[in-house]
Amino acid sequence: MTADILTVLWKERKGLFRVQGGRSRALLTMLLPVIMIAIILPVQMGRDYLTGAWPLVASLVIPVLLVGMTIPESFAGERERNTLPTLLASRLPDRAILFGKWALGVGYGFAMTLLVLLVSLITVNILHWEGQIMFYRANMAWAHVCVGLLMSGLIASLGVLVSLRSATVQGAQQALMSIILVPLMLLQVVPMLLLSVISNGRDLLRQLISINFTHFALITVGILAALNVGFLVAAMARFKRARLILD
């Protein structure tokens, strides 16, 4: 099974930067958010970047942007280019095809998140040198890494599920981005609702904001992990050769 997953991963990696508009466009798309978050922001903020919430934002945003753009290709791309029936007619097990495509999304998102965290660290240390090497706060560093990994997994599993159901890559991209936008909108709307609708909403909001960082990180990691598993199980249930060959 592992060898089969690696085979699918090999093919997916080969095709990663060779879709829609060529390699240079794909590389530029990949590098723009990296330059923005890993170089421009650290240059402007200096040491505050390492101690503030920005690296956590990077761990959330980088997978959304990069995995969100590539993972819709996974099945919708195969379907659009008529390569899916031949892949399904091969000896590859269902799980190998599914996990191979998912693993590329996770690996790509996580690797790019680590790269951004590393480049940010180097940028701050070079341009804002304070006589000794500066690091992220220890308790935050693991949170950045965990959130980056789980967020990559979440977008990859959600993306694979959406891609399995979509006829075209464009359709899959639009559907995925619409789904991702829902929690972001909720994050804006819920605090306002708490303040305006619920009588003791201000107190509730204050309690939420004052929550201990470790607790907050643990809750976030727990929610992301649960969503990861949920979407992956849904994708496994959706992957049926007989259904895919007729879609």
Partner: protein, 310 residues
Amino acid sequence: MTTMAIRTENLTRDFASVRALDGLSIEVASGEIFGFLGPNGAGKTTTINLLLGLLEPTAGRAEVLGFDTRAQADQVRERVGALLEHTGLYEQLSAEDNLEFYGRVWRMPRAEREARIQELLTHIGLWDRRKERVGKWSKGMKQKLALTRAMFHRPRLVFLDEPTAGLDVMAAVAVREDLAALAAREGVTVFLTTHNMAEAEKLCQEVAVIRKGQLVATGSPDSLRARMGGPRLEIVGRNFGESALALLRARPEVAAAEAHNAHLTIDLRQETDTAPLVGMLVSAGVQVEEVRRGKASLEEVFVTLMEEEK
């Protein structure tokens, strides 16, 4: 004893209220090229999907290489190759990478993969272009590569779904030649669907004809021709007037006589001495240049079968 590569019994598949395949029972012997003929929408692709275990039958059963396609679909797919309706090639990858991927899929060792890529690409004349992206290739070249991919892992059975459809004459001839050469060289059983009768006639030892999901005839191309069309006389010449045709049609051994430009086709009811017929035509003023004995082509047999069903 002949071993069977494929055996279906009353194989049936419905899509909602539409019966795409209706009680198909066929046998394909190991090592032969079997032609599965039918017009568009006859159920050819559905049959391939059922035999590959990609679809489950509504009724009946099928065995491929001794494995039940419903219960042992994984074992079936482990042992076969397929070139389906589309080439299935990754156009953003090179020819070499396309074959490399499917070599890895079938767990061929690296050295064997490399040797096989060189052997097959050289055989089809595309070795020098192995690094090029397949998306830049002509349709004929892609089809040749896809054919090579289907046979790459040395399967015992290959499914080919209309491998020359949409190709120009030269490309179709090239693909057909490669198919015949590869099949002979690899000793592989080929299940070939096509609606090109000339292709079936040239390549296939056995054929089955389906229409609207139902089997309407099966046998070797020769036996079908013999069954559906009797002996035939073809005459090239001039002055095929109505009086000469009327004389011919009045003869008891003549089933039909049709003239078209410089060709006269006479369908005979049975094998008979044709010299008196030719002599009668000459007496009636026909200038005979050439006389050929023949049989109905597979295409004519096919058309007859389709019309009979109507």
